[in-house]
C-alpha cells in the first residue's frame, strides 16, 4: 500500500466511523433542539439497547431480525422511562437546565451500574464475521460492514429529515422547537410532543448500538464517553440541524482517521479537539446552526 492508497483508506475508514458517530449523535441532537435538554442519559439508552440486542442474539440465540427490533424496543422503553420518571416531574416543578443536566447524569450512572450488575463490567462484543472481510485488496477499509454503516446512516438521516418535514408529528416537533410558548397558546399538547421526541430519539440509537456491538463492542463504563462524542458532534453540527449531526459525525470521523496519516493515534483527541476549537471560533453556532 503506497502513501496515496493509505490516505484513501484512512479517509474511507473515517467515513465509516463517522457514520456511526452521526448515528450516536442524532438522538442527542434532537432532544437538545426540541426539548432544550442536554440528554446525558442518551449514552445509557444506547448501551441498554446494545445489551438488549446482545442478550437476544447471544443468550437466546435468536436471529438479528428479532434482535434489532428488540433493541429498538428496549431503547424506546428506556427513553420513555427517563422522560416520565425524571424529566417530566422535574419540569413540572420548574427545575433549571442545570438541575435537569445533573439528573440526566444521574440516570446515566444508574444505567451504567444496572448493566454492570446484570452483565458484568467487562463489556460485550460480537464478531461481524465475513462482513469485515475487505472487498478488494487495495481498499482494505471497504467491507460490507462499512457499506451497511454508511448506507444505513444516509437512509436513516434521509428518513428522519422527511419525517420532520412531511409528517404531522414532525411538523409539531419543529413547531415546538421553534417557539414552545406559541405552540402551547395555539393549543398544541407540547408534553405529548416531548414524549414522542424522547421516544424517537431513543429508538434512533438502535442502529448505532448494533454497529458498535459488531465492531468495538461496548462496556458500561464507556457510557459517558459515548455521550460526549454525541455532544461534541451536536455542537459542531449546530443546534437545530439534522444535517449538522450527519456532517458533524462524518467530519469528526474523518479528522480522527486522516490525522493518522501524519500523526500517531495517541494524538487523535488533541488534533480533533484543536480542529473543533478553530471551527467553533470561525462558526460559533456550529456548521449548520442558526445564529442566535
Amino acid at each position: 500500500m503506497d502513501n496515496a492508497q493509505l490516505l484513501l483508506n484512512l479517509a474511507l475508514e473515517g467515513i465509516a466511523t463517522g457514520s456511526i458517530y452521526a448515528l450516536v449523535a442524532i438522538g442527542f441532537s434532537l432532544l437538545w433542539w426540541l426539548g432544550d435538554l442536554v440528554h446525558l442519559a442518551h449514552g445509557g439508552v444506547l448501551l441498554a439497547s446494545g445489551y438488549g440486542m446482545f442478550y437476544v442474539l447471544s443468550a437466546l440465540g435468536w436471529p438479528i431480525w428479532i434482535a434489532f427490533p428488540a433493541g429498538i424496543a428496549v431503547a424506546i422503553v428506556a427513553g420513555f422511562a427517563i422522560d416520565r420518571l425524571i424529566y417530566l416531574p422535574m419540569l413540572a416543578r420548574g427545575s433549571s437546565e442545570m438541575a435537569l443536566l445533573t439528573a440526566s447524569l444521574g440516570a446515566l450512572i444508574v444505567f451504567e451500574y444496572a448493566l454492570t450488575l446484570l452483565f458484568g463490567p467487562e463489556g460485550v462484543t460480537l464478531d461481524a464475521g465475513t462482513l469485515r472481510t475487505p472487498l478488494t485488496p487495495e481498499l482494505l477499509a471497504v467491507d460490507r460492514y462499512a457499506v451497511i454503516a454508511v448506507g444505513g446512516t444516509l437512509l436513516l438521516f434521509g428518513g428522519v429529515t422527511l419525517f420532520m418535514r412531511l409528517s404531522a408529528t414532525g411538523k409539531a416537533m419543529r413547531a415546538v422547537a421553534e417557539n414552545r410558548e406559541l405552540a402551547r397558546v395555539l393549543g398544541m399538547d407540547t408534553r405529548a410532543v416531548y414524549r414522542k421526541t424522547s421516544m424517537l430519539a431513543a429508538g434512533l440509537v438502535a442502529p448505532a448500538s448494533i454497529l458498535l456491538l459488531h465492531s468495538t463492542g461496548m462496556a458500561p463504563h464507556e457510557s459517558l464517553h459515548i455521550v460526549l462524542v454525541a455532544a461534541v458532534i451536536a455542537i459542531l453540527g449546530g443546534r437545530g440541524s439534522i444535517l449538522g449531526a450527519l456532517v458533524g459525525g462524518l467530519f469528526i470521523g474523518l479528522v480522527e482517521s486522516v490525522m493518522q496519516w501524519q500523526f500517531a493515534a495517541g494524538w487523535r483527541q488533541l488534533v480533533t479537539f484543536s480542529v473543533l476549537y478553530v471551527l467553533l471560533l470561525i462558526r460559533p453556532q456550529g456548521l449548520f446552526g442558526a445564529k442566535a
Binding site: 458484568g120 463490567p121 495517541g266
Partner: protein, 374 residues
C-alpha cells in the same frame, strides 16, 4: 438487661474481629481491566478458603477485603484510604503501575505493606520499602522475547504499539532499544490511548509498513483482543508479541484470530509436574466449574499463601500482625517461595522479583507453552 445484652454482643464482635486476619485486595474489579482483576480475585479467594478450611492463619480466620481500583490512580487512592481507615487493614494485595505509584507513598507513610502480583513496569522499582512485587518487570524480559522472535519466528520487521501509560511508555522504549540492539528494522512506531477501542485506522497505517510482527504494550486484555481482531479483519497474517497480560480469557473470545500471539510469562505450566501447581490446578477446577487456572490465578493464590507464611511467623513469635512487622517477616521468611506459579525469588533491595521466563502462544483456544527462555 438490654444494655448488658448490647455490651455482650459488642464485646463478642470485638473479640471475633480481633481474631480475624484481614488482607486487603485493591485491584480493578470494574472498568477495562475489571475482568482480569476479578480473575485474580478467584485465585486469592481459593487460597483464603483453603487456609480457613485448614484452621486459618495460626487459628485466626483470614478475611479478604476487596476494593475496586479500576486500575487507575484516583480510585486506587480512594480504595487504600478506605482499606486503612475503615477496614483497618495493614497488608494489601494491589497492582497496576498507575495504582502502585499513587498508593505506595500513602502506604509507606501509614506503614501498610503492599504486595503485588500484577505490576509489570519497572517504574515501580524501589517505589517504597513497603512495596514488594512478585511479578518480574517486563522491560527485563523484552530482550528475551525479541531474541526469540528474531531467531525462532524469523521476524525481521517489527511494529510497536505503545499505549500511553507508565508501563506502555517504558515497555515501548525498551522494545525499540532491544530491537535496535538486535539489528532489526522498526517498520512502524505507533501510540494509542488506554481507552481506545477502534484501532482500524492505526492498523491500516501499521499494515502499510508491512511488519512481520506487532509488539503490543497494553496491559488491558480487552484492548489487546480488539487490536488483534481488527488487524486480522484487515488481513494481517503476521504474529503479535507481548507479555503476560495476554494470558487472559478475553483473548480466547476472538477464536482463531488469536492464533499467532506470542508472549512471555512466568514459568507456570498448569499441565506440569510441580506438586504445588498440581494441587492448585485440581482445587481450582473443583471450585470453579472445571476451568483451568492461568498464571494470574496462580499468582494471586500464591500471594495469599505467602501472607499466611509471614503472618503465622509473627503470631508464633507473639508479635502483632501489622504492616511494619509483616514487611520484616516477609523479608525474613520469604526470600524464595516455591508456589503454584513456580519459584519466586525476591530482591528486597528494590522490591522486585525474579521468576523463570517462558514463551507461550495461543493455539486452538488454549495458552500453550512453546519455549523456556531462562
Amino acid at each position: 438487661m438490654r444494655l448488658l445484652g448490647a455490651i455482650v454482643v459488642a464485646l463478642a464482635s470485638a473479640v471475633a474481629q480481633a481474631q480475624e486476619a484481614k488482607l486487603g485486595f485493591l485491584m480493578p474489579l470494574t472498568g477495562g481491566p475489571g475482568k482480569m482483576g476479578n480473575m485474580m480475585m478467584e485465585g486469592a479467594t481459593l487460597a483464603v478458603e483453603e487456609i480457613n478450611g485448614a484452621g486459618g492463619v495460626a487459628g485466626r480466620k483470614l478475611v479478604l477485603v476487596p476494593e475496586d481500583s479500576q486500575g487507575l490512580a484516583k480510585p486506587g487512592v480512594d480504595g487504600i484510604r478506605k482499606l486503612m481507615d475503615v477496614d483497618k487493614v495493614d497488608t494489601i494485595i494491589t497492582g497496576y503501575t498507575a495504582v502502585v505509584m499513587a498508593v505506595a507513598p500513602i502506604a509507606e507513610q501509614n506503614k501498610v505493606f503492599l504486595l503485588s502480583g500484577s505490576t509489570a513496569s519497572s517504574a515501580v522499582r524501589g517505589a517504597s520499602p513497603f512495596f514488594q512485587n512478585a511479578w518480574p518487570f517486563e522491560e527485563d524480559q523484552v530482550g528475551m522475547m525479541l531474541g526469540y522472535a528474531k531467531n525462532r519466528l524469523n521476524v525481521r520487521r517489527l511494529a510497536v504499539m505503545t499505549v500511553v501509560s507508565d508501563l506502555g511508555s517504558s515497555l515501548g522504549a525498551a522494545v525499540k532499544k532491544e530491537w535496535a540492539a538486535l539489528g532489526g528494522a522498526l517498520a512502524a512506531d505507533e501510540t494509542h490511548q488506554q481507552t481506545e477501542a477502534n484501532f482500524r485506522a492505526t492498523m491500516l497505517k501499521v499494515l502499510a509498513a508491512k511488519p512481520d510482527a506487532i509488539y503490543l504494550t497494553t496491559s488491558n486484555d480487552k484492548q489487546a483482543s480488539q487490536i488483534v481482531r481488527q488487524a486480522r479483519e484487515l488481513g494481517y497474517k503476521g504474529v503479535f508479541l507481548s507479555f503476560g497480560a495476554l494470558e487472559a480469557p478475553e483473548m480466547l473470545t476472538i477464536g482463531k484470530q488469536a492464533d499467532g500471539c506470542y508472549f512471555t510469562s512466568a514459568a507456570y505450566d498448569p499441565a506440569g509436574d510441580n506438586p504445588r501447581t498440581k494441587h492448585f490446578v485440581e482445587a481450582f477446577k473443583k471450585r470453579f466449574d472445571g476451568r483451568t487456572p492461568n498464571i494470574h490465578h496462580a499468582n494471586h493464590y500464591d500471594l495469599v499463601q505467602m501472607y499466611k507464611v509471614a503472618a503465622e511467623a509473627l503470631i508464633k513469635q507473639g508479635k502483632p500482625v501489622n504492616g511494619a512487622n509483616m514487611r520484616e517477616s516477609f523479608r525474613a521468611n520469604l526470600a524464595q517461595y516455591p508456589g503454584a506459579g513456580g519459584l519466586f525469588r525476591f530482591n528486597f533491595a528494590d522490591g522486585s522479583a525474579r521468576r523463570s521466563v517462558i514463551v507461550k502462544t495461543i493455539s486452538d483456544g488454549k495458552f500453550v507453552k512453546v519455549a523456556d527462555l531462562e
